[in-house]
């Protein structure tokens, strides 16, 4: 650290103050123009369709004031802490300790997760939230195969989630098939759609791939909305049967689980069962992904992500590589969809919007692409954080969007910015993700 003579330091500090004030003033000015009409004036359609408006200059003034103050605070923080970089904040020994702890984080987290229904047995809300988080962990791990491992940017992942959910819902309500028959079928159908999507996008790269997958997701959603006779259109499908424990229903009936075990019936049984079901599905996803990474196909995915041209030069069949990545990712999406349908008992197209795709993609990227632990942590942070704002329904997505922007600025590489190699010589060394290319498909 360089030390300045006192008078020079004082001079730079006063220059700093005028600089900060100038910057804050400019920000406030920009904010004033931005918010002037949108916030300062509120429009509303009257009863006869005539638009009326009224002014809200108080809100406008406080917003501009907030920007002014906030910009001073940010600038001061920036000057004190220096350029944003989390590594510099943490001294080396602490960092080593953290990475030592990190090795035990995954098993500890897993044990804690298994114990969640025991610890929070009486708290229905926490159990529901845990199921939701695990659903997104599973979706994140599923999409991770496509985006994290194979480097194919998929903005329409929710389509496979929808296919899985509707497959289960329609098979179960129309034919009365059990959850355990429908679950693999939902996965297979979703994988089939994954291959179907894979074919047209085989020749596309990068952003063309992104837009085609986005378009595909929208097509599926629009077809679901408009094919009223099959899917019930915007009304959705209701009365989806609850899952059974291999034929034993988890309800209050005479042949239900509670009656068989001679224990008192409680609706929490079903919640706990759902919890372990999604946990098992998520762990299955994780296990399959980790196993596949070691197999030739998994290595081909990672090679494809790094360099497609080199891949082809080495004789890797990029067609099958891409198609299997899409199919595998889609299959897990389909499983998650079937689970979603049986948990909710009701599905409608509203659950399968682009927002969901973006949320899952955000979880994968924020987690640090390709990192299984990172994805789980990111799902916990995003979904848990999202829940905190449940009281402010209108502001929830606003805050969520801002968080997405800020997190990307803070950690563009995600929470876990390095990963373990699949094969190594002598000693395993973590690879920084700065060395890894992504999303060139």
């Amino acid at each position: 650290m360089t030390t300045l003579p006192p008078e020079a330091a004082a001079a730079s500090r006063t220059a700093g103050i005028s600089f900060i004030l100038k910057k804050a003033f400019l920000s406030a000015l920009v904010a004033l123009v931005l918010f002037s009409l949108m916030v300062g004036i509120r429009t509303e359609a009257g009863p006869d369709g005539q638009l009326t408006y009224w002014t809200r200059f108080g809100e406008l003034a406080s917003l501009v004031g907030l920007v002014f103050g906030g910009s001073i605070v940010i600038e001061l923080l920036r000057q004190w802490i220096g350029p944003v970089g989390t590594e510099k904040l943490v001294p080396a020994p602490v960092q080593q300790g953290l990475s030592f702890l990190g090795r035990y984080l995954a098993p500890v987290l897993l044990i804690f997760t298994i114990l969640v229904p025991v610890i929070f047995y009486d708290q229905r809300y926490i159990l529901d939230l845990a199921i939701l988080v695990l659903t997104y962990v599973m979706l994140g791990w599923g999409l991770n195969v496509v985006v994290g491992l194979a480097g194919l940017l998929d903005l329409g992942y929710v389509a496979f989630y929808a296919v899985g959910a509707y497959s289960y819902a329609l098979l179960a309500t129309n034919f009365g098939w059990s959850f355990w028959i429908c679950l693999p079928l939902a996965g297979i159908l979703a994988a089939f759609w994954g291959v179907l999507l894979g074919f047209p996008v085989l020749r596309l790269r990068g952003d063309y791939l992104a837009i085609v997958t986005l378009a595909f997701g929208e097509i599926i959603r629009l077809v679901i909305i408009n094919w009223q006779s099959l899917t019930g259109g915007p009304n959705g499908v209701s009365g989806i049967p609850r899952p059974t424990l291999f034929g034993i229903p988890l309800d209050n009936s005479d042949d239900g689980l509670a009656a068989l075990l001679h224990i008192e019936y409680s609706p929490t049984h079903r919640i706990v069962f759902l919890f372990y079901l999604i946990l098992a599905l998520a762990l299955l996803t994780n296990w399959v992904t980790i196993r596949l990474r070691r197999l030739p196909i998994g290595r081909a995915w990672e090679a494809l992500r790094e360099d497609e041209v080199a891949c082809r030069a080495l004789g890797i069949n990029t067609t099958t590589t891409k198609l299997t990545a899409f199919a595998t990712g889609a299959m897990f999406g389909g499983f998650a969809g079937a689970f979603f349908a049986t948990r909710q008992g009701f599905i409608s197209p509203e659950s399968f919007t682009f927002q969901e795709s973006a949320l899952v993609l955000a979880i994968v990227v924020l987690g640090g692409m390709g990192s299984q632990l990172g994805v789980a942590l990111a799902a916990l942070a995003m979904i848990g954080g999202f829940e905190l704002f449940r009281g402010f329904e209108n502001y929830r997505m606003l805050v969520f969007g801002m968080a997405m922007v800020l997190i990307m600025i803070w950690r563009p590489r995600g929470l876990i910015g390095h990963r373990a190699p699949t094969v190594y010589l002598k000693k395993a060394q973590a690879i920084s993700s700065d060395l890894v290319k992504e999303g060139h498909g």
Binding site: V33, M38, A215, M408, G439, H440
Partner: protein
Amino acid sequence: MDHFDYFAQQLINGLVLGSIYGLIAIGYTMVYGIVGMINFAHGDIFMIGGFIALITFLILISIGLTAVPVILLIVLLVSMAITALYGWTVERIAYRPLRHSFRLAPMLSAIGMSFVLTNYSQVAQGARVKPIPPLITGGHTLHESADGFVIQLSNIQIVVVITTVVLLAIFTWLVSRTRLGRDMRACEQDQTMAALLGVDVDRTISMTFVIGAALAAVAGLMYLLYYGLVDFFMGFVAGIKAFTAAVLGGIGSLPGAMLGGLAIGLIETFWSAYFSVEYKDVAAFSILIVVLIFMPTGLLGRPEVEKV
């Protein structure tokens, strides 16, 4: 009803809708050309443009202004100016800090920005649709068939098409003849080299967002005039369609964006007219997929060079 008359009427409608899409698509294509990113917030910039135009209208009408051309001109300038500032802010917040980061990061921050803008306008202006009384009325009957079907060309359609053509002319001049345009093309080629040769890359990229947003504001105003309403969610659908248009035309290519916009507008209109309204978006997206299968870089796109 004569088949040709019906066709001609749909052609007019499709071209008008296509011009609106084209104006939005230019913003996508410009940003893609220069920073190589999909600007996911662009559809919402279009929506904000529509809202600002609506509010300016209300104020001007309520202070007793009646001359339609004057109102239109003021609304155009105000919405372009404020929306351009929105574009600038999006670039400053969501793109500039991530310029040298890896590809997905700015894309996600732009998606986040899009959520912010959508929900910001929902919170600020409410979720309900905002209608305005028609400002430009009347039209011309181009042709009347024996059984009374008329091909209408309404004044508002004329205004939309003329505004689009004039703006395109100004814009083409801007890109091909001015210093700024030259800087933009230089940054598109190679940002590092352009910076070495004295081009202010930051400023050029900002200006790209500003111009794209201003054109989106014009599209928002045209949408407001044509359909007579705005709502907070319209940016998403129009945004995807316009982006589809940009990709269809070959992303990065300016004439391609306009061509793609017209193509999407025509496809959508004809599909609604001859097949089913419900599936018009499905048709537009399916055709995008089909075109990309056979022309992976769009209609006017340059083939991508694979570097090893």
